[in-house]
Symmetry: C2
Subunit: 344 residues, 2 copies
């Protein structure tokens, strides 16, 4: 960590990926540490969150909900940071804040997008169970999924941060939760640590058959944060009145063109019609204003009470963020992926 | 009409269609007029409604919301009937009722599924604007579409009974309504008689471009009662927060297998996610219990006040029902398709 004391290291977007990102799409630079102007703070990044949407904002045509990262600009990302210098009227040196400093050691902020964290035993939780992924699961389950006691809820990417929290929230509402994950170790974790009723390894053969067998009463809620073949296996099992909150589609973020046929869009629409299914997208950025405080209060209680937990997959060093992001897009993370950038 | 006085003519399902139905899939039979038992009424069919769902229930694998028609059984269908003999405690000879007597001159009923109509100047309206199609438009717009003043609403099959009413209801809420119909005469009707702001002929070239030009502020509600290429043209124009009530998919009812690729399902899901779109199916059978009375009151007022109108496409004679249904599945009807079976 010693070099980052003297300079600001940052990872910039060097090239726009075609399909899966490669190491050449990122560049580690060293620049001078900026100085805060009047009303600004200088932030030092302690933890950087890595999340699937980052692949999307690397494209020239950005997703509707966020701008593209410019070529040569630092990659964006949620961070837990320490205020190391302040010319801001309310933020003080030493404050721990949640913000979006991006992939760099230091950043300036005028304080508007910062959320004060107070002191936390594990500040990185503000990027996971108590942050954006947990908040995504919380709002999508409350507003769209709405699982009732006894209903069957299927959650893909069951050990990823959004899926893990979503499944545990459905369990708290009394639903039966069937997880889907890539690998036996993840499945074991979903059942033994997260409390899912069942977890299926999507890498094992005959996935669609095994899913049908695991859902003898059909599926009432499919929490969609993956896309691709999982959804195609879920579709025929959806019950009348099923809800499908769509919060992520990691299987498709690398797509450059629509996949080959057959065209399954009409099949989906027929199911939607006949079974009165509700498919609804949600982008969590919409909800910080009115729901984040309630989320922090509720989730804080559940975490403190041991009712919701989330494994962290901690990567050491900002310079390893590109490799970690590339791995996540292939499902190689196990839990909430966080980069440990500095200690304090 | 004279023969139907002596016998009960009925149209039965002779064979299950593969793809589009053909005349050989139907058979006109003559059987004895049944006699009502204790608690039953004998109904004489005055008007028979023809609706797209009928194609679906001809399949061996029925839609989720209704059973298949058995081979050799009369085709099902909504009817306006006259009670011509009664052994029922509350229904009297001469009563006009809405029911589901199917494709036949006479039917027995125990009264449970009958809705008394009183006297109506145009009883066939109980099959259209004041019946199932109007009710479908009413509930789907109120519960899912929810158009606000100034929003852009696109309605396919704009002169069909569901689309025509849906568009007029959106206009009543102050939305700008863009219709889509097959042919210049239908488009003229949509604008001049139904009050749509614009109507596009989907048979003219460059439909997707013309739709984009007609919706300069994008699309807030797409009322889906068609499917197929119209939806594919709508998809890129949907706004953030758009709603897509799905009440019919006539373009796909003859499909035997998924159409060839590319597979547009991922594109839909990406749009749903990024634009927070709500796609939700509705089957009107779910809502008769709790909403039909309010619908009849509201729609009755709007029709009486000239605020909602619906053209009828009247076909003469039960024996012509098969040809009329086949035409409807190809878009050859113009307005609500009703078979006039008997005068009184």
């Amino acid at each position: 960590m010693s070099r980052s004391d003297a300079v600001n290291r940052r990872v910039v977007l060097a090239a726009r990926p075609r399909g899966a990102p490669t190491p050449q799409d990122f560049r580690l630079e060293e620049v001078a540490i900026p100085k805060p102007g009047e009303g600004q703070v200088l932030l030092r990044t302690l933890y950087l969150s890595l999340d699937p949407y980052m692949r999307n904002v690397m494209n020239e045509v950005p997703p509707v909900y966020a701008p593209s990262v410019a070529l040569g600009a630092p990659m964006v990302g949620g961070t837990v940071s320490r205020v190391v210098a302040s010319r801001h009227p309310r933020l003080r040196e030493g404050d721990l804040v949640l913000g979006g400093a991006g992939w760099q050691d230091y950043a300036l902020s005028d304080g508007q997008e910062l959320f004060p964290l107070g002191e936390m035993a594990r500040p990185s939780m503000a990027l996971g169970v108590l942050g954006m992924p947990g908040f995504t699961a919380y709002v999508a389950m409350a507003d769209i999924g709405q699982p009732a006691a006894g209903e069957t809820v299927v959650v893909a990417a069951a050990t990823g941060p959004v899926g893990a929290v979503a499944g545990q929230l459905a369990r708290l509402r009394g639903a039966r939760v069937v997880g889907i994950a890539g690998g036996a170790d993840k499945c074991r974790h979903a059942v033994e640590e997260l409390g899912f009723d069942v977890c299926l390894d999507r890498k094992e053969p005959r996935f669609a058959e095994r899913l049908a067998a695991a859902c003898p009463k059909g599926i009432d809620v499919y929490f969609e944060n993956v896309g691709g073949e999982v959804f195609e296996a879920v579709l025929p099992l959806l019950n009348v009145g099923a809800r499908v909150p769509v919060v992520g589609l990691i299987a498709h973020y690398n797509d450059r063109t629509p996949p080959p046929g057959p065209n399954l869009l009409p099949s989906l629409m027929k199911s939607v019609l006949e079974k009165r299914i509700r498919v609804q997208g949600m982008v969590i950025l919409d909800h910080y204003g009115d729901r984040f405080d309630a989320f922090r209060r509720d989730m804080g209680e559940w975490v403190a009470g041991g009712k919701v937990t989330l494994r962290e997959d901690m990567v050491e060093g900002l310079e390893n963020a590109p490799t970690a992001l590339m791995g996540m897009l292939e499902g190689r993370n196990f839990g909430k992926l966080v980069v440990h950038v500095a200690d304090s």
